[in-house]
Subunit: 271 residues, 2 copies
Amino acid sequence: MFENSNKIPMEKLSADGRARRHALLMGGAVLAAAAVVDFMPETIQAATIAQAEKPIEFLFAIYPNGTLLDFAGPNEILSRLPNTKVRFASPDGGLVTLEKGVTFGPTEKLSDIERVDVICVPGALDLSAMMKPEILAHIRRLSESARYVTSVCTGSIILAAAGVLKGKRSACHWAFLNVLKKYGAIPDPARIVKDGRFMSGGGVTAGIDFGVAIAAELRGVQAAQEVQLLVQYDPQPPFHAGNPSDAPPKVRDAVYKMLPGSENGLMQPIL
Amino acid sequence: MFENSNKIPMEKLSADGRARRHALLMGGAVLAAAAVVDFMPETIQAATIAQAEKPIEFLFAIYPNGTLLDFAGPNEILSRLPNTKVRFASPDGGLVTLEKGVTFGPTEKLSDIERVDVICVPGALDLSAMMKPEILAHIRRLSESARYVTSVCTGSIILAAAGVLKGKRSACHWAFLNVLKKYGAIPDPARIVKDGRFMSGGGVTAGIDFGVAIAAELRGVQAAQEVQLLVQYDPQPPFHAGNPSDAPPKVRDAVYKMLPGSENGLMQPIL
């Protein structure tokens, strides 16, 4: 529904809508946004206009010891998507200390979030901060009312533990993929998995691919591709080693030994 | 020099070295690290041992209004590399408010950093926090003594403005690439560029490719590939739109209009 190509004159977009579009696309740099106004195209996709008064609310549910890139990847896409508001929440709100001791924020308190259009749970090795019954209950509550329920990496294990992935196909980091079965979800080794209103990405870096895919779902292919070009997402890994099936055997075997159980997709996260 | 394949028995690695290796690879999850000890391979690359008492210090020089993914991408690689210490510094130290209002930290104060092995300057649209003479002087000072001087995205414009890229080839975000000429650097449209001890990545997401490449340079191909597998870096973008040459013409033209000057690689950052 967001992919129609009707054009309407630029004047019909409110000044507020214009400023927001610039801010979103240009990284919130107000000075540059002002400079850009003179160069804006005279037409703009009707889809953006139609949604001008009702931004999509996209929530990352993050937590202590989480992996930064799991959400920093898709955030870089979603936060540049027109008329899309990215929010962050965590069990306690405020600043969150992630894996490796880096701090990220600010976040709202998960229990304070009433409803969002998209919930996205990123992953980590240590999922323990999310595995408490009262936190899982909030994940379940927000998942029930969201248009899309999504995850990156082992975030799908949190969704599954919350009971929202029963009988649903889901991606996960390759080393942990089959842990999903324990909660009644169906492991899918694809990098991006869509099963109805459930979308998920594989391990860590798959969050960027997932981000582009859900951007297209939410705002149309053209808008997603514009953001892809803005962040120059034309990946060229110097090696083929990103999956056990591609990696040289001695690399794969070394990582299997580092991550016990991973050979069978049964590495255990910290719960 | 880090790529030889000599093996030495595991016992020769100190307990501290083992713990550090586990912590680095496993995301600092001490509980899991303890579980992994039993599964560690009996041999380990000699390169890691040789460096056990002297970690490589890798510094990200970040700043207000910077783009999160520019450093979050390579950080996810470097922070998992054996015996490599990632540090963050900023003009004022402490927590830094990035583009889109997200906060990241902690950071050291740039003027307090004496020397590092690798300096990496990530990019942004708004480079103004780094363009002050006293800040550029610290970038120049640290670049002179570093083994590698590196950047992601428009971070190369900061390095160039600091005077350290004269006559050197460098990558940059495609929209800003030719701005490098103003400072005597040689624009190179490749995604990863190496010119002697200078290495750089293109726009935003290129930081991950750059991260894998410099990981191989610092710790050998095997170690870089192990980390690539850990973060499942097997990118599969749903569209081909990550470069002006690949993007559908209407996507490319829309972004050219959003980013004035970008058609000729002459989009002006905020300085």
